[in-house]
Structure formats: C-alpha cells, structure tokens
C-alpha cells in the first residue's frame, strides 16, 4: 500500500478537492515547474502532470493540441524527470503523472517508477494499462516505489468492475463524468445524477474525483456535491494559452474556480 502525500491528503481533506491537470512542457518547455508552483500557491489540492504523447486516444482536441506543442517543444519523459528533480524543495502538493503506456514502457517501467519516486511523484494514471497486466506485472513494481495507480470509471463501468477497481487502488477513483473524450461539456442530466449517486451509494473505500467536462465554478461545485472533488484539464489548458503572464493566468483561473 502506498503511504504518500496523496493518501495523506485524502485522510485530511474530505471534500471540495481541486485537482488540476496540465501538460508538461506546455505552453513553453520550461513552464512545467512554474505552473506547478503557482498551482500550489493558488490553492490546488493536487496536481496531475500530463506526459505528452503523439496519439492520446482518450483526449479531446484541446489536450491533444497541447500534447503536440509540448512534443514540438522537446518534452519527453527524460526531460520531465530532469525538470522535476528537486521539486520537493519547492512544493508539497501531491503530484500525479498521467500518460499513455507506450512512452513509459519505452523508458522502462521500473526505471520510470524509480525516477518518479525519486523526484517525489505520488501516483500515476496510465489509462491504457489493463487490470490483468497491472496485477500480474506492474503492481509489485508500483508498490515497491510507493506509487498509487489511479483507475478511471465511466457511466458504463459495471458495478462489479467498480468494486474490483476500488479493491485495486489506494488513493482515489477517477470518475469520468460522461462517455466522452476530455474537454466536452459536463452533463447535468438525470442519467449523470443517477450514475453519481449509484457510485456514491456503493460505500467504496476510496474517495471519488469527477473529471471530464469540469471547467468553471458551477461545474466544479456541482461535481463536489457528488464526489470528494473534481479534476479540471482542458479548461485550464485553455487558460494557459491566454495572453498575459503565465503565473497570473494560473492564479486568475484558480480564483475563478475556488
């Protein structure tokens, strides 16, 4: 079991958690740590750093475009670990790395976990890593380095599978708000509410964060009524592209949410 900043955060804070996603190396290659610092200073409870990939299947156009820019800027797994070296002297906020499996495998899974733990990463989201492979091959490695693996569920995920996921993870469950890629509008219909209350009523051991389609104060607050908090990605990426100073853009965006 992981015992890290992430697991401690959820023991200490039960509601209104704000998790912000951004793509490493975007808008500029060296912006990663600046954004991270400013997110902590502006009140993000946890931070998800995206490792750019050429073919991000589950992402919508905004995040995909940011991935492409980051890659053109020269971002890579290796570069990201260089940027994050020493980051724990600057920030205490829990850090999650999110990315597709292929670049992680090419870096070497164990080497990746070792580096992640060394720079102070707390958890990973690898959306295309299947259960069976995780349990057989990867779980022991993650545990060795004290990293949590965060799984996604969607409105189509069956109840028994949600229970399996709940048993497998020890930080939080990423509750995808609706059947969609990232960056769509949050659904507020009866079906969504039924899904949220069904999952909430299951008595899971892990906290729930709602993501996909959360982009402003009303959608954040709505999500927080149904879960322990929410994840914002595309809307924040858009805010980073606004004219103006980077730190001010980060601060301004977070002020508009919290």
């Amino acid at each position: 079991m992981a015992n890290n900043r992430l697991t401690r955060l959820f023991q200490e804070k039960k509601g209104n958690l704000l998790n912000v996603y951004f793509t490493a190396g975007f808008p500029k290659l060296e912006d990663t740590v600046t954004i991270l610092e400013e997110l902590e200073a502006s009140g993000a409870d946890l931070v998800e750093i995206g490792m750019p990939f050429s073919d991000p299947l589950a992402d919508g156009p905004t995040i995909q475009a940011s991935n492409q820019v980051a890659l053109e800027n020269g971002m890579s797994v290796k570069k990201l670990f260089q940027q994050l070296a020493g980051v724990r002297e600057k920030v205490t906020v829990p850090i999650i790395l999110m990315g597709y499996l292929n670049p992680v495998l090419q870096y070497g899974f164990e080497r990746f976990c070792e580096e992640a733990a060394r720079v102070g990463v707390d958890g990973l989201i690898l959306p295309d890593l299947p259960f069976a492979e995780y349990e057989e091959e990867y779980k022991p490695v993650l545990e060795k380095y004290g990293l949590s693996l965060i799984f996604l569920i969607t409105p189509q995920t069956a109840e028994n599978r949600i229970r399996q996921i709940d048993a497998l993870t020890d930080s939080f469950i990423y509750m995808v708000s609706s059947a969609s890629t990232t960056g769509g509008a949050v659904q507020t219909g009866d079906a969504q509410q039924a899904y949220f209350s069904k999952v909430r009523g299951m008595g899971l051991k892990n906290p729930l964060l709602i993501g996909f389609g959360i982009g402003d104060k009303p959608s954040f607050e709505l999500a927080c009524q149904s879960a322990n908090g929410a994840i914002i990605g595309s809307a924040f990426i858009k805010a980073l592209q606004q004219p103006g100073e980077l730190r001010e853009n980060v601060r301004g965006f977070l002020q508009s949410i919290k």
């Binding site: 995920t157 059947a179 890629t181």
Partner: protein, 398 residues
C-alpha cells in the same frame, strides 16, 4: 493453434487490449459475444449467402502463365480484386455488419487509409440501412479521391482528419474518439487485424475465407491443398492474415509477408514495421511499432495509402518474431515496376498495395516445380492518379 490467439487476446507476447476504461464496455461486449455470434448457424448462412451472391465469392485462383514463365515457377493469383468494391476488405465488413446488427447497433464508424475499407464499410452500411461515418486522413482524401466520392455516393459521411500526419493512424485515433463518445449505439468496424482483442482475431477469421478457398481450389487444380509459398502485402495485415490463416500450422508452406519500404528501409521514409519497429502499444494492442526512442509514434511513409501504418497486426508481429513468416521490404519503385509488369503480362492492374507482394517474386527464387500463391488483394483503379503521376515523373527524369 500455435500461431493463433489465446483466451487473453495474445499471440505470443503481442496483442491484448490496452484501452482506456471509456472503451472497455464496448470492447468487452464484443469479446464476450463475437465467437458465439459468428459461429451461429443463422449468422453463417446469412454471411455465406452474401459472400456468394453479393461479394462474388469464391474468387478465382488464377494460374498466371506469363508471369509464371518469367519467374520460372508456378504462380497462382488469388483474385480478391474481383470482389465487389475491388478488394478483400469487403469479406470483413460483411461479417462485421451482420455482427453489429445482432449486437443491436444502429451507427457504424470506420477508419480508412486507401479508402478500400471505407468503401467496403459504406457499402455494407447501405446494404444494412445503417448510418455510416468514415474517418480518413485529409492527405488520403486527396490522394484517394475516387474512393471518397464512392463513399459519399453510398450515403456515408466522410470526415477528413487534420490531426497528426493526416493519414491512417490519425484516422484511427479519430474513429476511436468517436467510439468513446458514442459507447452504446455504435459499432466500430476496424478494417485490419489491428486494435484491441478481439479485433485482430475477429478480422482474421472473416478474412480466413481466402485461405480456405485457396486450399480447395489448389486441390482441384494441382491435386494438393498446400502451396509452397503464400505471399501477401502487409500494412496492418488483414489480407495477409486471411491468406495465411489455414496454412499457419502447415510448416511446409512458406509464408511471405511483404512490407512497404517506401523510399528505402533506412531512408527515414518507410513503413517497414517488422524491421524498423520495436515492441510498443498502438491503438489498443501490443505489437511491433515504429516509434522514437521516447515512445512517440512516428509517421510512416509509403506510396500506397493502405500500407503506411506505423504498426502491424499483433499476429504478424508474432509471425515475424518467431520466424514463421518471412518478412520482405519492397520500395515504392520496386512496387511500381511490379504493377507495370502485371498489367503488361497478365492484363491485370493491381492496387499499389498488392504490387508490393508481386515485387517480392524476384526475391523468392522458388524454382520450376514450386507452387506460389500471391494474394491479389485489390485492384488498381483507385490508384490511377498516383500511378499516372508516378510514371510521368519517371519519364520526365529519363
């Protein structure tokens, strides 16, 4: 079957279903039901009727005399080019559309490179009365314009994809995104033996009609079911998977898979995945994949829109790694020469994809008493513009 899929969707170390949770229910539904449905008597009857009366099967196994003379061996061409819509692709779309209907799906999506799979999908959607959306890289919509027009005429919506390299890989990404956004009413008809399990196995089964017929037809013509060689081109690898299927466990049959070397394997403009690729994950499956050191998927290149895919079906990766199939890489120039040769010797204009398989003949050195079957996967009508432009430039340079 030593080279077949296991219950977890693996061929040796390749395959599996590396998909985000958003796709899990769709893929799981397929995985649970595909074998049962396609083995039902009613399904088989309906499919066989359509393959016979609509597609035009069995396709002939043609003894190409002049080509045989030239290469001093006995060459048979499996005439998939004579299928309705002009390629082997329709074998799979007929099967998948019947499956989609039994799954209660009302909306069909597909990706296409050369457009042959897109046309085949649009065709069966018209036949079944289902909505059809085809994703196609913008560059491919330009170089395969006749196929775009055909799809539209058949009632399909063609969506030009402008992300990434604007070719097949990006069209596939967009189709997958569409599927994520429509998890309940939509079936995704993948056109090759790629994607998460069960797609590679399902598509190979639908294409296996090719090797099944080859065995029967060779028996009639040669008094033996087994050829010495089976040769097929490989992008994702569906025509090769179909041509190899019933020969996989026949070690006397040499399987030859022909990849597109583009401007040359080491030119930086190539699609020869078995040589240039490393184990990785693309479109939900672990396979050989052309990628950078950092694991970013690289842009392949081939003159044929149907072969410039950076991965290869997981079964082919397994065949390459175990040595069960011999992989040969053929350049654009060699393929175009083979295209001209078949046109002049046999009166058959093959697709540029297929021409890669034909060009491998000069490397086989099979010998006069050998029987070589080449899977003539498609016809060249769709490629006329590319062919004419290519030879005009050649003439200009001479």
């Amino acid at each position: 079957m030593e080279y077949g899929v296991n219950e977890r969707g693996y061929y040796g170390q390749f395959g599996g279903a590396f998909i985000p949770e958003m796709l899990y229910p769709n893929v799981e539904e397929l995985r649970e039901k595909y074998l049962t449905i396609i083995q039902e008597e009613g399904f088989q009857e309906e499919m066989q009727d359509l393959l016979r009366d609509y597609v035009g099967r069995p396709t002939p196994l043609y003894l190409a005399k002049r080509l045989s003379e030239k290469y001093n061996t006995k060459i048979y061409l499996k005439r998939e080019d004579l299928n309705h819509t002009g390629a082997h692709k329709i074998n799979n779309t007929v099967g998948q559309i019947l499956l989609a209907k039994r799954l209660g799906k009302t909306r069909i999506i597909a990706e296409t490179g050369a457009g042959q799979h897109g046309v085949a999908t649009a065709t069966v959607c018209a036949l079944a009365g289902l909505e059809c959306i085809v994703y196609m890289g913008k560059i491919d919509t330009e170089r395969q314009r006749p196929n775009v027009e055909k799809m539209r005429l058949l009632g399909a919506t063609v969506v030009p994809v402008t992300s990434g390299s604007q070719t097949l890989k990006d069209a596939t990404n967009e189709a997958i995104r569409d599927w994520i956004n429509h998890p309940e009413d939509t079936h995704y008809i993948i056109g090759s033996v790629v994607g998460p399990h069960p797609y590679p196995d399902m598509v190979a089964r639908f294409q296996s009609v090719i090797s099944e017929e080859i065995r029967k037809q060779l028996m009639e013509k040669e008094g033996r079911e087994l050829p010495d060689y089976v040769v097929a081109c490989v992008g994702g690898g569906s025509n090769a998977a179909g041509a190899f299927y019933h020969f996989l466990d026949e070690p006397s049959v040499q399987l030859v898979a022909v990849e597109a070397a583009g401007l040359g394997v080491n030119s930086g403009h190539s699609a020869a995945t078995s040589i240039l690729g490393k184990t990785g994950i693309i479109h939900g499956s672990k396979t050989l994949l052309m990628q950078t050191e950092d694991g970013q998927i690289t842009e392949p290149y081939s003159i044929s829109a149907g072969l410039d895919y950076p991965g290869v079906g997981p079964q082919h990766a397994h065949l390459a790694q175990t040595g069960r199939a011999r992989f040969i890489a053929i350049t654009d120039a060699e393929a175009m020469e083979a295209l001209k040769e078949l046109s002049r010797l046999e009166g058959i204009i093959p697709a540029i994809e297929t021409s890669h398989a034909l060009a491998a003949l000069k490397e086989l050195n099979a010998g006069p008493d050998k029987v070589v079957v080449i899977n003539l996967s498609g016809r060249g009508d769709k490629d006329l513009n590319t062919i004419l432009t290519y030879f005009e430039q050649q003439d200009g340079q001479q």
